[in-house]
Point group: C2
Chain length 191, copies 2
């Protein structure tokens, strides 16, 4: 019998950025900058909240913060305005190939996204599956629903659920991760 | 993103705030908290942008930032959602009794407020004249207009102009500085 021969796979050495996949935060920042530069939308990443404890004013040049600590963010990473609507979202990466673990998002962030939707804003979660190099936008309504389910056992949102209820974001060259295209199609079209 | 957390130490505030007049930032934060607690609006102060240079992971408890510097903010201090609309503003205090000096606001902040208005959001400046204990909300349309005038000489917005084109905010006990009342009256009434 002729058995198919399995050649040993060469171990991938990712030296160039091309093999390393997308840096989600950078891709979103680049996309937002494109929107700003073209007067399309004004969506910004919020600064990381830091509790400053000690500032050193000794040097004439600039105040140096010499003791500070990271704080828990009150809200989400990104917010702003698009087509007159308030837009708010959180972006997360996972190395899992099958699901997004809900421990990666704070409970009060889920609550915040839900509050925004209830008050007429557009809010969602973007998840990048880095090993699959696939990204999805999932409306906060589903995020809340899956999060509530986590109280009774299931602690993640499966890839299949992202495929079914989310919208896949394709990476492109100029508009790196054109999530507003999804908003045009699925949020504004309903109006 | 998940950052290592250290519980924030409360910054010691003045012992007797009563005599010093209103702390504008505290008044706005209290007001926003009231709106949040009563499910009225979700408007937050953005964290102060800080460039972290060195982080010390030596202690088991929490990552200590040991070198960092303040950065110029890209946008404004406050933004969020109210009655389905995007709301964005900057808040400033002045000790002048006659005018608000325009050097107290960055050019790109004026531009940001203008961008928000052009895209259908509600954007404004709140100025507190601390020695008069009077506060005004001024729409970004006027802010832009007065700012452009500053190129040709006049480098401030006078108190008389705030009285004429702005809306005075009265301090109260529970809703410390109820700026959303002004929005109801002057922004939503038009619709």
């Amino acid at each position: 019998m002729n058995y198919p021969i399995k050649r040993p796979q060469p171990i991938q050495k990712s030296t160039s950025a091309a093999n390393r996949g997308m840096d989600l935060e950078q891709a979103i920042n680049d996309t937002n900058q494109y929107y700003i530069d073209n007067d399309i939308a004004y969506i910004y990443k919020k600064p990381i909240p830091i509790q400053v404890v000690k500032v050193d004013y000794a040097k004439r040049s600039a105040a140096k913060i010499s003791e500070a600590y990271y704080k828990i963010p009150s809200t989400t990473d990104y917010n702003g305005i698009y087509r007159g609507r308030y837009v708010d979202f959180e972006a997360k990466e996972t190395r899992s190939k099958t699901s997004f673990p809900l421990k990666n998002i704070h409970k009060h962030q889920v609550q915040h996204l839900d509050n925004v939707r209830r008050h007429g804003g557009i809010s969602f979660l973007i998840v990048h599956f880095s090993l699959l190099n696939r990204s999805f936008l999932l409306d906060s309504g589903f995020v809340t629903q899956y999060y509530q389910r986590s109280d009774i056992g299931k602690k993640s949102i499966t890839l299949a659920e992202f495929i079914e209820n989310g919208h896949e974001l394709k990476e492109a060259y100029v508009k790196r991760l054109d999530y507003l295209g999804v908003l045009d199609k699925y949020y504004f079209a309903k109006q």
